[in-house]
Point group: C7
Chain length 79, copies 7
């Protein structure tokens, strides 16, 4: 299998410590370094930035994001 | 049964490694190669493209998509 | 009981291999041949057509539809 | 207890084979003969009519309705 | 404890056979005599009236209301 | 720990018999005396008032509020 | 791992007794001192302030916030 990804969470495991982009159901995006996640896809980011149309709107530092508010996650630097 | 599909997930199993189109509840579509999925229909795509009315809007590479944001999935090249 | 339907899923069982109309929560409709379904009402259609006010908008071939996006299903040819 | 209804599902049991009115979360109504239901309030109607402000908009025949799209059900002929 | 209410469902138990007002998530209200309820707060009303800004809009007789469409319930005559 | 609150429900326990303010997902607020609650955060209030921008819009007496319609609860007199 | 955070809830544990910012699904924000949380991400804040575009709109004192109304939580002073 490409990249050793057999189950969806394998991608998040590979992305730990790397920067990811999180698309939220409210239309916003968060970018930050993935520190932790669980099976509900609750995640913790470090150096979190809130983006508006790709522009940094706010620096948030650490952030806990509830899984049920996430549409998709793209680990920009994994591949 | 047509195509050997007895249960809904059989279609996703057949589509592994092939290109699929994912329709999201927010009205957007993602197109990419299906790498993995689970029983929650969480999926991982490779070479993901975000589409707007069929036009490629953004290249996302790898993407983890939460199952509960998906309306339907159409594996364009399976059949 | 009319048509041998004692439990709701009996209707879907009878509709296997026949054409059904699926009304989605986003207001769209999908029409296609029912290949498979599960207890979550996840379903797989073949020869799927996306309808807009009854007009065919797009041909989708095979499609996996998440149960939680469905309002109701009408098997036009069962009866 | 009035009508022998001790638990909510008793009302649906009494309404089997009779005409009911189903109010959906999307604002539409369906009218038809109740053939079957389950504990999720998934229901099957026969001779289903889609109503718009009380007017018949479309004849649907048999229909499977997902319970989680229903606001309330009024069995017009039970009492 | 006031009125012998120790758990939320105790209020609904006391309201059986009495008139209650049900506020729905879609902004409408239903008024009727509480016949039955279950732990999902699915309820059955008799002599149900659909209200619009406090005015009776429609007489519905018996009605089964899904618990997940309810905001709050006020038993006007209990106290 | 401040106020002896170790788990979230401890705050609701301390607020029993006192006035609380309940913010609902539909934008409205209810104010009343907390009589009972359960683990779903279903709650019963006495002397309930429906507020619109802080103004009393309606007196409701006893009210059963479904937990899943609540955003947050502020026990104004606890502290 | 940065900051000793291996699981998402570790961040909330570290933030106990410190000020956090809570982004709600309705677009509002609450700021306050984290007193308690549970696995549903229900949380209790002390000295809670309701913010509108970063401006303090209202002082709420203690507040119980339902986890399912939260998008993300940023512990401003943890790091």
């Amino acid at each position: 299998m490409v990249n050793g990804i057999e189950r969806p969470l394998d991608l998040l495991n590979q992305a730990k410590g790397k920067e990811i982009l999180v698309y939220l159901k409210n239309g916003n995006q968060l970018r930050g370094t993935l520190l932790a996640f669980d099976i509900h896809i609750n995640i913790v980011l470090d150096n979190t930035k809130e983006l508006d149309n790709g522009e940094v709107k706010k620096n948030l530092g650490l952030a806990f994001i509830r899984g049920d508010t996430i549409i998709f996650i793209s680990p920009s630097t994994v591949k």
